[in-house]
Symmetry: D4
Subunit: 162 residues, 8 copies
């Protein structure tokens, strides 16, 4: 049986998909079922609002939103839910993600978006942060996270690089 998704992973555009592949793989490695959707804050605003409003009752715990340019997706989702929302700025415009970063992170007091680094590293970290949050009440996942961290350290190198 497929498990019910606990993470909603949204991208603002199909062209953003290439930045989030590693993040999706990581959720799978951690055994976290997710729901992947292409939803645009500007082109499909009602779907964005509906998704956020239904999220909690649908069993989602966390929503990740990756978007570029005037990247409103994470903020638009956060405006409609009190679930934790993680934002990933995508470097799709000529400003190389600086616009996406400012649009995602500079939220007004009251409506937080947990903002990650620009691009692939950020999407990967969104998956890890989601796991860290879920691990607060899931000791198996907590162990997986610690093991992942240990492997990360090993891969980072131990001594001379040659």
């Amino acid at each position: 049986v497929t498990k019910k998704p606990v993470v909603g992973f949204l991208v603002g555009s199909k062209s953003d998909m290439k930045y989030i592949q590693k993040g999706l793989r990581l959720l799978e490695e951690f055994g976290i079922p997710y729901d992947l959707q292409v939803i645009s804050a500007h082109r499909t605003p009602d779907r964005a609002a509906q998704y956020a409003q239904d999220a909690e009752s649908a069993g989602l715990k966390i929503i990740i939103a990756a978007a570029g340019s005037a990247a409103h997706l994470a903020g638009a989702i956060a405006a409609h839910t009190t679930l934790p929302v993680i934002g990933v700025p995508i470097p799709s415009s000529d400003l190389k993600g600086l616009d996406s970063l400012f649009s995602t992170v500079q939220m007004p007091a009251g409506i937080p978006v947990a903002t990650m680094a620009i691009g692939e590293a950020g999407a990967t970290n969104a998956a890890i942060l989601a796991a860290e949050i879920l691990a607060l009440s899931d000791s198996t996942l907590a162990r997986k996270l610690r093991r992942y961290r240990d492997e990360l350290a090993k891969k980072a190198g131990s001594g001379h690089p040659v």
Copy 2:
């Protein structure tokens, strides 16, 4: 009798009001009835969506949206209407409006926001742009605009500044 508003003038927060006073005065000088509202894309997203969806049937022709930081207001309004939307970036954060500018102007293909300069100059120009748009089918207003422009030229100085 009061005339029905044709311009909706929205600010994201009461503290943004000080930047738009000159813009409001100008609308009044031009005889353009407006509806002023404090609506936040993040704190009152449903009101923002509703306002945009009802705008056309309520008789509005143009919506001006002024907001700071991750300034999503203009984009959120534009997502729900095909009326022209004018955005004014407010310099309320530590980034002095650069965040607001990027968040307002870098809209994805499909959903335009007519972005003005940061701050008071931008809010003033939003009123003028609204007048220019309305003047396309209002020859009296067109004349007023040309007169305003003439006076602007006169005030700009003619000769030695002393």
Copy 3:
């Protein structure tokens, strides 16, 4: 018979043409006749001024100006007309359009330029904004715009991206 242009679409240099193709196609889809010109605010300033001064009597309703670097074209046009002027910052320099954006959007109070996003997305949105403005007095065009928006939403995706 060809219809008389209602939109003037100016580019500052032939090399900017590649950024505006989608915008031109969109004007054609909307059935909006346009006049395309290469005019430089710096190399052909008199033609720019003349174009702006003649625009209204020539039947133009809106002027779109796309330019890069110290992108003065939109501002130079706006200085000579009270028609709505839409500016598109072109990312042709080493500063990737940040110079073009600042030069286009930071207009002084009195002379607005409706600024779009940097590059192709901005040129596309310039066409849409022009349509939105014209649609205020053209219900057929207004219907086309709403249909365009619906298709945009459909293309944006509806569900799982695979």
Copy 4:
């Protein structure tokens, strides 16, 4: 009896305290016990590492770290724990927090920091995000959060600002 802290709230320097007062008040309103510490990633690195390593066994669920300039505090904490770490960039330098933002948000793949807006708004949102995370397994807190959000909407304004 005082409840055991579940949130660790760290500031890099005493002078950063003024930016986090509203965030602390909010944690108190939500009834979330916290542990407030001044810890510097650079001047007291061992205390920072120790704090992060002991956090989980000490019962902490979340660590908030606010720092300015080359703001390494959140990243240094995140490097030593798999608890969720929230970073708040403080605008204490001549670069007005742009340095703090980049230093906090641009974490490499593997070690996420949930980054908030620059300054007081960010510190306030850090408290709210912490509450959102804790509310995933605390329905009373979840209700408080929804009520807070409703009040936020009410305060944001409803109608004409005068």
Copy 5:
């Protein structure tokens, strides 16, 4: 008798006057007669064009143009004359002159603007550059410039600052 001006010193707005006082004093010290005008590229574009076109026959050798925000004045003047044009970016907007600098310096190939530093230092240097250019065919002025430079060195300090 008053001597005929050889330098045209233009400011885009009366409020820019405070930045150029030292520059004007320096022209007077060098004995360079100048013509001071408030001319706006956007509010009085025809006067700007006319001024530039008439400059050479009126006996001007150099035009200095100081302006802020989307600072088109120097470029607009340069577009209408082959006299050397010196641009001074004024820090009058929220972007602190970065917009003015980009708008002034990033001229396309063909139409140079000799750009100075942002603000008062730039206006002062505009006067000195004008003097350096005029001194190429005026040995008295050349001597004054060398003396000015010597005094500058003396004032810069010679030894311990106390």
Copy 6:
């Protein structure tokens, strides 16, 4: 016979040569004899100082200095002469010429550098500005410049771009 150089054209590094080719060609078209040198403000500071000190007696009228990164060449030359110095920021570093621009243009009061646009356009304009300065006392060159400007206007386009 070769004519004695009146313009010194310096580049900070051989790798900057590719940016200045069009500028050199233009000086040749204008019939302005120039002296081309690779001189580094940092690697050959004495040659830079000597070059600037000897420039006037060697018959040079103007010095152009093109350099990248912490681009001190133009400023270092200007520090040793009262001849007009033109600076060209080269986009050779990861910061794409923003570092070169700031290092070249932000000169302190007293020592001007006439700064051009970043890269090839700037080097081309340096040649034109040099010609404009020399044309103040050379009516043949003045005529050439006006003719160049006319051709520029013609090439810029006249009508529909197809």
Copy 7:
């Protein structure tokens, strides 16, 4: 016999190795034995701390740390030693090293990091600065450095570039 390393050269990630090759070659040319390690401030924080704490007793005189994005490596090392620490910002992210530069250079009062230029030039200069420091008590090395500088001047060009 191999000499004991006096310089520790750390990179935050194996992918940073390509930026430091010239720097390593230069250390070898100068005859300065070095210890090369891949150590991450975030993935292997304990190794970073340990390395810094052991550095002095291991005979190291200087530590060079090259890292990208939120580049904390140099600062994390500096926090644990009073040896001179040299930081090299690596341009590995979408922000092209501006994030790395700010994260490395904006250290708080008390804990200096001697920051070099972004990228390869910076890594090369890190090696030279290390040599300059060591040369203060090594006259042979001081002579090598002066010879290197002389060769640099020769290679920089002497006269016409063709």
Copy 8:
């Protein structure tokens, strides 16, 4: 008897003095004799070159150079000596030290400048870095530095900030 200076501390302008007071106090606390001079790379370039050339024979070990705007002082000094040169970017212009930082840190390969943070923190750290370098061959100073670091840690706070 006064000890012979081992550190040369240069500021580009008297107005920069306020940023370096803490740095000077720290040198005094460490018992490091210094020579304080106001020397401008642009207004007194020969004095700058001479100072750098004479530094080694005058017994100086390290030169600190603090300057603003197009901050060439540190680079100009480094060009004339193989002693370690420390640069401090002063935030004296409208660009708040970003120009000074780029001008100081982005040195070309071959001529390093050890760049500190912008402003007072940077000047303070310049003094500490100088001490760290000198301590490599001065065990008394090394002990002082470790004690300073310990006190720094103590002052940084130990526990609850109230």
